[in-house]
Amino acid sequence: MSDSAKAQPSVNVRAEYFAQMKRKRLYSGILLAIFVALMASGFMLADSRNAGGFWEGLHRVFDFPKSVLSEAWEKRAELPGHIVEFFPALIETINIAAVSTLFGALGGTILSMLATRGLARWPRLIPVFRRIMDVMRAVPEIVIALVLIFVLGGGPVPAMIAIAFHTVGALGKLFSEVNENASLKPVEGLASVGANWTQRMVLGVMPQVAPNYLSYALIRFEINIRASAILGFVGAGGIGYELKNAISWGQGRYDSAAAIFILLFLTIVAVDQCSSYFRDLLTHGRKKGEMLA
């Protein structure tokens, strides 16, 4: 307040603050510059390595949708027929996703328990199981699917195995994060009565983590539907296979392509909406659920 009080302490503070500000500005400036440079140069590089440039191509973006839609519109009478025709393929795609999510969740549950401190069956092997999950997560589905297509032949099973494999890793990681927040007290309580590891996990941990598990599995199901559609594109059956055949034949089958687009889009949107509804119920509705129980 007084003049003398004002002069002294703030000199240091000022210098300190200015120094900090400079440093911060420098850091954020550098960070920003690096980011902008990366974006810009990345864009330009990608542009130059692409067959068609971004700017030349921009006005043609609607060419393809236009030819698909105009043909679909011309043959709109056949659309319902096509939708019925491709429905079994869609069911196959959903089956692939569902089965692989089931297996993935099962495997993920076991691996995550083995990889969580405090729950692990063999605590010393925790890093091993973690690495296993990392690797399973890192391998793109398409790699496994193509290898399996070679060994097993085309069809839904290679896709299913490939997606399940990846799902084990992905869910395993998420599940083990959930496990880490689970209380160890019930587990210890069960240990003290002489329960074995399986009993401890199923009776002591599962009731705590089940809602979160379910919520993550639902998201994964959604992702897996997309993945199985994509794998169909490289020869693993389902709606992706039909889509690829229709699209690559081109004009003349664009009406089929449009029907498949519609099916796929509706499915993805429907599953997305359902899963977010159920996840809401699981995470926010839990309190209500408890009171009812």
């Binding site: 990366l38 070679f150 993805i268």
Partner: protein, 440 residues
């Protein structure tokens, strides 16, 4: 303890029994439901037929090929010329006058030593395969057929012989004889010519020799021969890896930049107009619902093959995902901070800049980085469709179904790349969100 408690115990017991009956039912019904579904899927996927036709042999071949390679010794039965090449490829061909050291050439006679004492001999007019423990097979290929003679006894199943073609597959190697050609495959372990091709002066040198040559001023040439190795094309592979990461980077961050302003328009607390909000939400649903796969197809027509197309496909899908996630985060912002800024007379843009951005940055950033990581993987797949990046190389190498060692090379690289991105984004997430820079 008390009499009254004792009295109501029986009813409690039956109640408890009931509870357990219900729990058991549930405990059985759920797995049973799953099992029934799996059984349905088992037949829907036609697994029995699949198991019947699964080719373990293919699996073995694949596995063996990932760590071994074969050298072809091919004799043109018309001209009598003998050629040596690795994997039968032109670029793996031994230069004129040279041959592997397990072959000896003397005029018209070529002797090929295979492991386990097997030996194949090409003569001017016939071929001999000396198989210890079985006997000597001779064949005289000509216009009338292969004319093979085998030791007496039943024909083993590893010999596949017809009038015009004989194929003998043993653990030591493989011999095929047709009217036109005689060919021996000799398998060796390793990734052939991984560092230098046969025409490079550095082929076959030991590491020590290479290092000393490099020190002697040949480093540039050595690097060139390795980097542009025509068998493995390391330079192209590196580019492809880079392109894949680039697609993920441009796509993810481009989407984040696009989605941020749009998310404000879809957030309840920033856009009171229901119509606008709903319009943007549906737009996000559309972008997300039309999968990256479909975007890729649509965009390929406009932009052609290449990384830009892949990046844009990721960008569009993720704009949808980010739009949704971001607007959810924005709906959860703390109004107090915004009001504090507003009370000073700040302009709307300033309110967003200081009232909103600092609080949402950490959340958004961690979401973006998470997507970046998983998009590295998706970019591999998208590349396989748009024709860019390591994904294309990988799928093409797999589909043409030779060169599994290249496939395994790519797989290893892809896994390492995803791993690296995974750790990098994790590191960045920790740094940026904990660090002081977050508020800026």
């Amino acid at each position: 303890m008390t009499m009254t408690a004792e009295a109501h115990a029986p009813s409690l017991k039956s109640q408890a029994e009931q509870i357990f009956r219900r729990k058991r039912l549930l405990a059985f019904a759920l797995p049973a439901l799953v099992l029934v579904y799996l059984a349905y899927a088992f037949f829907a996927f036609n697994v029995p037929a699949l198991l019947g036709s699964a080719s373990l042999e293919n699996g073995q071949k694949l596995v063996r090929d990932t760590y071994s390679y074969k050298t072809h010794v091919t004799r043109d039965n018309r001209s009598g010329e003998v050629a040596f090449s690795i994997e039968g490829e032109r670029k793996g061909r031994y230069p004129e006058g040279t041959h592997p050291d397990w072959v000896s050439v003397a005029g018209e006679t070529t002797v090929i030593t295979l492991p386990k004492g097997h030996e194949v001999r090409y003569f001017a007019d016939h071929v001999e395969y000396d198989l210890p423990g079985y006997g000597l097979i001779t064949a005289a290929p000509g216009s009338g057929g292969v004319n093979a003679t085998f030791p007496a006894g039943e024909m083993p199943e590893w010999i596949n012989a017809s009038k015009n073609r004989v194929a003998i597959t043993t653990e030591a190697g493989r011999l095929t004889i047709t009217r036109n050609r005689t060919e021996v495959f000799r398998y060796s372990t390793g990734w052939e010519l991984f560092f230098f091709t046969l025409d490079s002066p550095y082929h076959g040198l030991s590491l020590g020799q290479i290092v000393s040559r490099a020190a002697g001023g040949e480093a540039g040439a050595i690097w060139h021969d390795f980097w542009y190795n025509s068998m493995w094309r390391h330079v192209d592979v590196a580019w492809a890896l880079f392109e894949t990461v680039q697609m993920a980077f441009l796509g993810t961050f481009g989407a984040a930049i696009l989605a941020l302003p749009l998310a404000f328009l879809a957030a309840r607390n920033f856009t009171p107009l229901l119509l606008v909000r709903q319009a943007f939400r549906r737009l996000f649903d559309l972008f997300r619902g039309v999968d990256a796969l479909i975007w890729t197809i649509i965009l390929a027509r406009a932009f052609g093959p290449g990384p830009m197309t892949g990046a844009l496909a990721i960008l569009l899908t993720d704009t949808g995902s980010f739009g949704k996630l971001f607007s959810e985060s924005l709906e959860n912002v703390d109004e107090k901070q915004i009001e504090g800024i507003r009370s000073t007379g700040a302009k709307p843009v300033q309110r967003y800049r200081f009232g909103v951005i600092p609080q949402v940055t950490p959340v958004l950033l961690s979401q973006v980085l998470y997507f970046f990581e998983s998009n590295t993987r998706s970019a591999t797949v998208i590349g396989a469709i748009t024709g860019g990046g390591i994904g294309l190389m990988l799928t093409q190498a797999m589909i043409t179904q030779k060169d599994w060692e290249e496939v395994s090379y790519y797989i290893v690289l892809v896994i390492l790349m995803v791993f690296a991105m995974d750790s990098f984004s994790g590191w960045l997430r920790r740094r940026l969100i904990k660090g002081d820079e977050g508020g800026h």
